[in-house]
C-alpha cells in the first residue's frame, strides 16, 4: 500500500507526445495498490509556486503484454498454468485527471511534470474554489455533502448565491428510482439550507409537492440515523433533527370529508389543513384544466368575459335577473338562465356576441372541472388555501397531491407556484426566498410532447425565478427527458445512481467512461455534483435525512380508516375538542344536506374555535325542511346569494 501520509507523493505526472499534459487535463501513474479512485482530488506542485488541483476522471491499468496471444502461448493454452507464472508482469496504473483549478490562474499553462499528492482538507477548499465564498467575512457556503476519497474527508459547500439566487439558482437531481435517493437528498439539502442559509440573505421557506405515496409525509418526525450518518452531520456542522415547522395541505377525497393523504393518523392530523378551492381559484388557471384542442379563441374570449365581467361581480343578464357568481353552482344557474332566455326569446343563437354553441362548450368544460377535481375544487365556494402572504421563515409547506389525478396535480402545482411568484414579485409572501420542490419533473416539463401551461410556467421560473427568490428544486429519473431550458437553467445539477441507457445519451458525453461507470454503480448516499464554482463534477456522500421515511412513517403512524360521513364528522370534531359529545353531533347533522355538513366541518377545522360544537352548530345553521324551489319570474330582479339556504 502506498503511503497514507497526505504529503507523501502517490504518483507522478507523465507526458508523452501522444499523451501530453495540457492546462485542462493530464496523466499520472501510481503504484498498483494505491488508495486512489475515480473522483479523488489530487494536487500537483510545480515550480514557481504553481499548484494544480485536479479530479481523477479515468484510470487504466495495463501490463507489458503486447498481445493476448502471448499469454496463451506462455500458458500453452491452459489458464491454470497462466496463474502459476513465477513472475508477475510489469503493470501500470495510469490515471487521467481533469484540472479543477490552477493557482495562480494566470498564465494558464500545462500541468507541470511533478509529483502528485492526494488533496488535503485545505486543498479541497481551494480546488473547488470554496475559499471565495466559505472563507469570507460573510460565509455563503451551504453544506451539500462530504468529499471522501483517498483517505481525505472534507465538507463540500455550495455557494448560496448560486444555489438560491441571485447569481444563479435552481437545483436538479437525476437518478434511478429507489437507488439514487433523490428525495432523501433533497430533504437533507433543505435541512442544510434552513440551518446554514446566511441570515443576511433574508428569510426562506420551502414548498414541496408530494407526488407519490408517503414520501414527504413525515418531515416533522425524527427518523433513525446510523452512527456514520451522525458523523457526517457532525463533520458538516449540521444538527441532525427533523424540520421544526412543517405544514401539510391535502385535498379531500371525493366524499368531501376524508383527506386524500396518507398522513391521516389522529396523532398527526392537527398539522394537516384541507386544500380546497372554489370557482375564482380555478378560473384564473382554466388554461391548465381545459384541453387546448377543445378550447379555441372563441371559447377563450367567452371565458375571459366570465372572469372579467361576471365572477365575483353583480351581473345582470338580458332577461332582468342579477347574478352574483361565486361558485360553480352559481355559474351553472347563470348558464341555465342564458339558455332559457335565448330559448324563450326565439331563434337567436347569439348572446352578447358569443354563439350559443361556444357557450354550451365552455359550460360543459367548466362544469366538468368540479367533477374531475372533486375534493380539491368544490361547487359550494368553500376555500381553504395555502397561507400566501403569511409564510414563515424556515418553514416547509407540503402539498400532498399524491392521491390526485394528473389534472388535479397540474392545477395544484400551477396555481400554487403562480401565486408564489405573484407574491414574491410584490414582496409580500412573508419570506424572501422560496424553494419549490417538484419530483417527477418529467410529468410537468417533458422534452417532447405539446406545450402546456405547466411547462411554460416552469420555463418562466427557470429563467426568471432567481431574480424573484423563487427557486426550483426538481427531480426526475431521466434528465434527458426534461426540457433543455429547465435543466439547463439549473445552476446546480446532482446525479445519483444513473441508468446506463440514460448515460448513453448525448447529454453525458462530457463525462469520461469511468465517471459514467461510477455513476451507474454508485451506492446509495453518494452523489455527483455540478455547481458553477466546480469546473469538474465532484462526488460527495450525504447522510440520511433526520426525518422519518415515508414507509416507516406509515408503519409508525398508520392512516386512519375511512368511515361514514356522520362518524367522520364526529371523529374530526372530537379531534379538535375532546369535550364534543358524539351523540349531540350525530343528532345535529341528522337529516342535514351533506354539502352543508361538509362546509360547516371545513369552516370549523379552519377556524379551530374554542367552543368547537357551538361554532360547528352555527356554521351549519338551523335545520330547514326541504322544499321545492320555484324558478322566479324572468322579469323579477333577483340576486342569487351563494350561502343563503333560503334563496330561491
Amino acid at each position: 500500500m502506498t503511503s497514507s501520509s497526505p504529503e507523501a507523493p502517490i504518483g507522478r505526472v507523465v507526458a508523452t507526445e501522444a499523451l501530453p499534459a495540457g492546462p485542462h487535463q493530464f496523466h499520472f501513474w501510481t503504484a498498483t495498490d494505491t488508495t486512489l479512485g475515480i473522483g479523488a482530488i489530487v494536487r500537483v506542485d510545480g515550480e514557481a509556486s504553481r499548484t494544480v488541483y485536479a479530479v481523477v476522471v479515468d484510470g487504466r491499468a495495463y501490463s507489458d503484454l503486447a498481445a493476448p496471444l502471448h499469454d496463451v502461448l506462455a500458458a500453452e493454452g491452459n489458464p491454470e498454468a497462466a496463474a502459476l507464472a513465477p513472475t508477475r508482469r510489469t503493470e501500470i496504473r495510469l490515471w487521467t485527471a481533469a484540472v479543477l483549478r490552477q493557482m495562480p490562474e494566470e498564465p494558464l499553462q500545462p500541468v507541470p511534470l511533478s509529483d502528485v499528492r492526494l488533496a488535503t482538507k485545505d486543498d479541497i477548499v481551494h480546488a473547488l474554489r470554496m475559499d471565495t465564498y466559505v472563507r469570507t467575512e460573510q460565509p455563503m457556503g451551504i453544506p451539500i455533502g462530504l468529499y471522501t476519497a483517498g483517505g481525505t474527508s472534507a465538507p463540500v459547500y455550495l455557494d448560496a448565491d448560486f444555489l438560491l439566487g441571485p447569481e444563479s439558482a435552481h437545483l436538479n437531481i437525476s437518478g434511478v428510482s429507489g437507488l439514487a435517493t433523490k428525495t432523501s437528498a433533497v430533504e437533507f439539502f433543505l435541512a442544510s439550507i434552513f440551518q446554514r442559509f446566511p441570515k443576511a440573505k433574508g428569510t426562506i421557506a420551502a414548498v414541496c409537492f408530494n407526488v407519490k405515496g408517503p414520501d414527504l409525509c413525515f418531515l416533522d418526525q425524527a427518523g433513525e440515523l446510523s452512527e456514520a450518518d451522525r458523523q457526517i452531520y457532525a463533520e458538516l456542522g449540521i444538527e441532525a433533527e427533523p424540520f421544526k415547522r412543517v405544514r401539510y395541505f391535502a385535498p379531500f377525497k371525493a366524499d368531501g370529508v376524508h383527506l386524500n393523504t396518507l398522513r391521516t393518523n389522529p396523532a398527526l392530523t392537527d398539522t394537516v389543513q384541507p386544500l380546497v378551492w372554489g370557482l375564482r381559484e380555478v378560473l384564473d388557471y382554466h388554461e391548465v384544466l381545459l384541453n387546448r384542442d377543445d378550447i379555441d379563441a372563441k371559447s377563450d374570449a367567452f371565458i375571459d368575459f366570465l372572469a372579467d365581467r361576471v365572477v365575483e361581480k353583480e351581473f345582470r343578464d338580458d332577461w332582468g335577473t342579477t347574478h352574483r357568481v361565486r361558485t360553480f353552482g352559481d355559474l351553472e344557474r347563470l348558464f341555465r338562465a342564458i339558455f332559457d332566455g335565448l330559448e324563450n326569446a326565439g331563434r337567436s343563437d347569439v348572446w352578447r356576441t358569443h354563439h350559443i354553441a361556444t357557450i354550451r362548450k365552455v359550460r360543459n368544460r367548466l362544469m366538468n372541472i368540479s367533477t374531475r377535481c372533486k375534493g380539491l375544487v368544490t361547487d359550494d365556494g368553500s376555500v381553504s388555501d395555502v397561507p400566501f402572504g403569511a409564510f414563515e421563515d424556515r418553514a416547509v409547506y407540503v402539498l400532498d397531491v399524491a392521491g390526485m389525478d394528473q389534472l388535479g396535480q397540474d392545477l395544484a402545482f400551477t396555481r400554487v407556484v403562480s401565486r408564489l411568484r405573484e407574491h414574491l414579485e410584490r414582496r409580500d409572501l412573508g419570506v424572501d426566498h422560496v424553494v419549490v420542490f417538484v419530483d417527477e419533473l418529467n410529468k410537468y416539463a417533458p422534452s417532447d410532447g405539446p406545450e402546456s401551461y405547466v411547462k411554460k410556467m416552469l420555463l418562466d421560473i427557470s429563467e426568471r425565478g432567481r431574480y424573484l427568490g423563487l427557486v426550483l428544486f426538481s427531480a426526475q429519473q431521466f434528465r434527458s427527458q426534461i426540457h433543455r431550458r429547465v435543466v439547463g437553467n439549473a445552476g446546480t445539477a446532482i446525479y445519483g445512481r444513473m441508468d446506463s441507457d440514460e448515460l448513453a445519451t448525448p447529454q453525458y458525453q462530457v463525462l469520461s467512461a469511468a465517471t459514467k461507470i461510477k455513476l451507474a454503480t454508485m451506492p446509495k448516499g453518494e452523489l455527483m455534483i455540478r455547481h458553477p464554482h466546480f469546473t469538474q463534477p465532484v462526488f460527495v456522500r450525504f447522510p440520511r435525512p433526520a426525518v422519518l421515511t415515508g414507509p416507516k412513517g406509515v408503519e409508525r403512524f398508520p392512516p386512519a380508516a375511512e368511515m361514514p360521513l356522520e362518524d367522520a364528522v364526529v371523529v374530526q370534531l372530537v379531534a379538535l375538542d375532546r369535550a364534543v359529545s358524539p351523540g349531540r353531533v350525530k343528532e345535529l347533522i341528522a337529516g342535514r344536506r351533506e354539502v352543508d355538513v361538509r362546509r360547516a366541518l371545513l369552516a370549523t377545522k379552519l377556524a379551530k374555535p374554542r367552543d368547537v360544537f357551538a361554532f360547528f352548530s352555527a356554521a351549519l345553521g338551523p335545520a330547514v325542511p326541504r322544499e321545492t324551489v320555484t324558478r322566479p319570474a324572468a322579469a323579477a330582479a333577483t340576486v342569487f346569494e351563494v350561502d343563503d339556504p333560503y334563496g330561491p
Binding site: 507489458d64 499469454d71 498454468a81 497462466a82 502459476l84 513465477p86 513472475t87 508477475r88 508482469r89 510489469t90
Partner: protein, 314 residues
Amino acid sequence: MSTQGALREAIMQSGGTVGTGSVLAYVPPPISAPFGSSEPVEDVSLRCIDVRGAAAPPGGTAFLDGIQRFRVAGRIGIVPIVRGVAAAAVMERRDGTLAARLLEKEECLVASLGRLEPTAVARLESLGLPLYDSTDGDRSHPLLDIQLAGRLVERRREALERRVAEQWLATRSAGWLLIDGSITALPGLETSPAVLGVIKSHETQFLDGADLVTALTLPPGHRSSVFCRESSVRSRVYSWYLRLWPWEERDLLHGLLRLECAPDAAALGQATEISRWLLAERAPLSAPDGRWDRLLYPVQHVEAYLRAQIGERL
C-alpha cells in the same frame, strides 16, 4: 510438384525436418570463436534427458543484466571521440514481483588518445568523465577505431556487472543469481555455487559429432547431459543444454538455452531441478521481443529497467 514441395519431400525422406529456416538477404557476420572444447561429466556420450515438466522456481531468485550504449560524438581529425554509457542491475523476485536491488551506471569517453594533441586530451579530461584510451596499433581505421571503442564500453559494462554481482552475492541469504550470458565473462564468479549463466546465443560450439546432434535437436522439456566446457582463455564451468520450446518448423536453435554453473558436484545433482524451474520461466513470455523463445521475462525486465535508467539516447 513445385520445387519447394519436391525439396520438402526429399528432406523428409532423408529423415530430416522441414521449414527450419528464415529467408536471409545477407551473410551473417563472421563468428570470432566458433569452436571450443569440452569433456564429458555426467555421461560419456551426451544424452537427452526428460526433466519431467516445469517446477516452481526457488524463492529469492535474482536476475542480473547489463547494457551499454555508445555513439561517435565527433571526430578530432579522423579520430573518433566516442561517448558511452554502461549500466548493470540486479533485480530480485519476491512473491512474483521483481524489484531492483542493485544498480551501477557509468558514463565515459573513449578515444585513441595517442593520436590526439595533448591539448585535445586535456579538454576531454576537463569534462570530468572517465576517459579511456582505445589505441590499438599504429594505423587508423575509421570503422575499426569505433569497434575498438565499443569493445571498451562493453568491458565497462562487464565490470559493472561483476561489481553488482559481487555485491549481491556478498549480501545474499538464499536463492540463485541468474546472469544473462556466460558466467565466464565475469572472472571470479564462475566458481560461485549460486550463480547460473543463461546463454541464448550459440556462437561457440563446445560439442561435436553425435553429442552436438543430441544437444541441438533436444525436444522441448529435455536437457542434455552435463559437460564441462573448456577454454584456453576462460575458466572451466559445467554446462548443459535445455530446450524450452519446440524447434520443429522453426529453427534448430529455437527455444534452446545453454546453462553454465560452477563446476562442483552439487551443481551436477541440481541440473534437472534447475532445468525444471527454467522451464517454468517460459511464462510470462517476453514477446514481442524477437528473442522471446530464449529471453527469460525477468531478464527482459531487468533490461527494460536499465534502458529506462540510462535512456535510449546519448
